[in-house]
Amino acid sequence: MQRDFEKDKKNMVVVEGSYAVASAVKSCRPNVISAYPITPQTHIVEDLSQFMADGAIPNCEYINVESEFSALSALVGSSAAGARSYSATTSQGLELMHEVLFNVSGMRLPVVMTVVNRAVSAPINIWNDHQDSISQRDTGWIQLYAEDTQEISDMTAQAFKIAEDPEILLPVMTCMDGFILSHVYEPVVLLEDDIVAEYLPPFEPEFKLDPKNPKTFGAFADPNSYTEFRYLQQQAMDKALKKIEDAAAEFYDLFGRHYGGLIDTYETDDADIILMAMGSIVGTIKDAIDKLRAKGVKVGLLKVRSFRPFPVEAIRNVVKDAKVVVALDKNISIGLNEGALFTETKASLYNTKIDVPVIGFMIGHGGRDIPTGTIENIIDEAKKVIDSGITVESQFTDLKEELL
């Protein structure tokens, strides 16, 4: 299921990544949009506001809230009232939503939110890394990461389909790299309303806030049932593993584009070295792989598309025969000196018969650019592990020693 760029080309337009996302949201027919502007998410909400001003999103209310906290809180109300609900944010805004994130997922409200990934303060920094969304990994949201603007655009429709599935009913974050994808102009096929209508059925929840059938939402659960609430959320995440694959496959059937479901692979079949990464860095890695493959280096890429649910089985299947796995993380758990993808990949392989060394590189913090050469250097380090074992398990990349 590879993408056929030449076939898509006749339908492509060169637009900004943010516009592609806004256009995709429009095609998904949301009823309520509630968002607070924050760099680098602003262009998405500006474009959506313009769509609203032009009457281009029928049956939709756009709420200009006073904070991110209220942005997501409003969607608690709207989603519970049966409205397809959307927001977008990043960084500080996402962190401000933290408490509401748990609330949305616990109430099983299928909100979809684009997270335009950005570093978190302090020091304040508007550029890209993944610390914001990774820090929300335990909030019960499905988290999908996109490689390019076409994928984040298409992922929007997939996200609503996954979230609103009666078996799932979990909120979804679709994550795109701030500036790198949000502000790039590149050719993209904007989602077509008629095909989206075929792909994405209307949102019709079993329960909603309705005076004709007055249910209570948000009851408190004591120790007698709280555990089971948590279990049911985890069970929904387990079911989402398949649903994410299905949503990608169905999308391919209708739109002809596929980016993997939970994961995607590039040149991994015979690879000794497998790089793992999420987001826009994947494109740069593919270029580096082509370059090194030409020189006979057996290197491949495992792109993690779904970070929550974490695709443990899928990862095991891809890396089991590799000689070394390298996880690249645009985040760090300070105090552990590891990025989340690295930690969780290691954990996925422990207690199995798979015996492959895993090393981690934390990379691209706060928008530090990642040239192909940086990837090549990392692959050189991986080769050393094959030859002589691990010397450093996890480390910062391109650290400027002169500043320390």
Partner: protein, 86 residues
């Protein structure tokens, strides 16, 4: 009973929770004094004063917690709080 997604609850379902056992004193009507003013019904925080067909009221002791607001506010002193016999 299995948990519906998100823990949605049915309306008015606290009826299973009989709070009458919380009482120390219980209100008792003196129908000779009662003028059917409905104040007790209006003020009861536990919705435990039920109208009767004859226009008088009766206490629902399944739920009455015995707060005594009805007795305290009754304009005709038609409600007496008596110690609950347990």
């Amino acid at each position: 009973m299995t948990i519906p997604l998100g823990g949605v609850c049915a309306p008015g379902s606290t009826l299973v929770n009989k709070t009458g056992g919380w009482r120390t004193f219980k209100p008792v009507f003196d129908y000779d004094k009662c003028i059917k003013c409905k104040l007790c019904e209006l003020l009861c925080p536990d919705m435990s004063v039920d109208p009767r067909d004859d226009g008088f009221f009766e206490f629902n002791y399944d739920f009455c917690k015995g707060c005594g607001i009805c007795a305290n506010e009754c304009p005709k002193d038609a409600i007496e709080m008596v110690l609950e016999e347990k």
